[in-house]
């Protein structure tokens, strides 16, 4: 019998009431995570459904010392690893640090168009928004998962390690490569800040 804490679902989780509580409390979190991983609505719904089905079946194996959200993240991450890539993108591969080392001064100096902008303002730039989403989707899965959990879901490296079954050190190493990958994708696109009218008078010559 797992040890119960305030965070665990009720004993009757096998019954409809238990499921409803688990679903009600966590569906939004899981959908957000799934959408970030999959990048699209239908695949995200599939992943959420798969996750709850697996959670429901595996509930007896739930260890009471873990938070429910951590447990669900873990199930979702495993389900995601099993899901076939429906769209073409980067094949699963390891990212090496060397490939992100700039080889020219120009490459070093590539920038992302958000100078002086809040993230919200920067995201008004549709090109930037799409470039970010595409860069994340182009990441090999285990790197994407690490970046999403750490930088988007805001979990600690330790928590991420527990979820994906890797050491904290491996999480940090993957995270760094994933960030370098996204940085390169964003900066190499040559996105410019679109005009915000009089809001950004100091903008330098990037208006078209």
């Amino acid at each position: 019998m797992p040890r119960r804490t305030a965070n665990t679902p009720p004993d009757d989780s096998q019954g409809p009431d238990g499921f409803d509580k688990l679903y009600r409390d966590h569906v939004d979190l899981l959908y957000r995570y799934a959408h970030r991983l999959c990048g699209e609505v239908e695949a995200a719904k599939d992943l959420v459904q798969e996750t709850f089905l697996n959670a429901y079946r595996g509930f007896r194996g739930f260890r009471g010392d873990a938070q429910v959200s951590t447990w669900l993240y873990t199930i979702a991450s495993r389900a995601c690893m099993r899901m076939r890539r429906k769209r073409k993108g980067e094949p699963e591969r390891e990212l090496s640090l060397d490939e992100f080392v700039p080889t020219s001064e120009g490459e070093f100096r590539l920038q992302i168009p958000m100078e002086g902008l809040t993230p919200e303002e920067a995201f008004e730039n549709k090109e930037l928004r799409e470039a970010l989403d595409q860069a994340i989707q182009k990441l090999p899965k285990k790197y994407r998962m690490t970046l999403v959990l750490r930088d988007m879901e805001g979990l600690s490296a330790k928590e991420v390690g527990a979820i994906i079954g890797a050491s904290e050190r491996a999480v940090k190493s993957r995270l760094h490569r994933a960030r370098l990958f996204v940085r390169r994708e964003l900066s190499a696109r040559g996105i410019t800040q679109p005009g915000h009218g009089s809001e950004t008078p100091s903008m330098r010559g990037s208006l078209t």
């Binding site: 719904k45 995201f123 989403d133 996204v182």
Partner: protein, 103 residues
């Protein structure tokens, strides 16, 4: 590229494992930038990185763009499920769990 920045003072007698600002040194800096951004480095290494960044415009611009990347990831909004989608998905799950299929 090698201009020294007067506002940064080198601590006298401080041993630095990677002195200088050659390309090899920049590479070493790049490897540690996430740890630096996440504030995970011991203070001596932090200090050394800051010194390098202050004196190396390439690395300074690079870290700015890496920081921007992290900031964008942290603030990227994600669409939420609508109430009707939430209800429909719940029914799908219940149906699938009853049929025992893995869909």
């Amino acid at each position: 590229m090698k201009k020294a920045r007067d506002s940064r003072t080198r601590r006298a007698g401080k041993m630095t494992p990677h002195p200088g600002h050659g390309p090899g040194h920049c590479l070493n800096i790049l490897k540690q930038l996430s740890a630096y951004i996440d504030d995970e480095l011991p203070s001596e290494i932090c200090e050394e990185l800051r010194r390098h960044l202050g004196a190396c415009p390439n690395c300074e611009v690079f870290i700015a763009s890496l920081r921007d990347t992290v900031t964008l990831c942290r603030h990227r909004p994600t669409p939420a499920l609508s109430a009707s989608d939430r209800a429909a998905l719940r029914l799908n799950i219940i149906r699938a769990s009853k049929s025992g299929s893995r869909r």
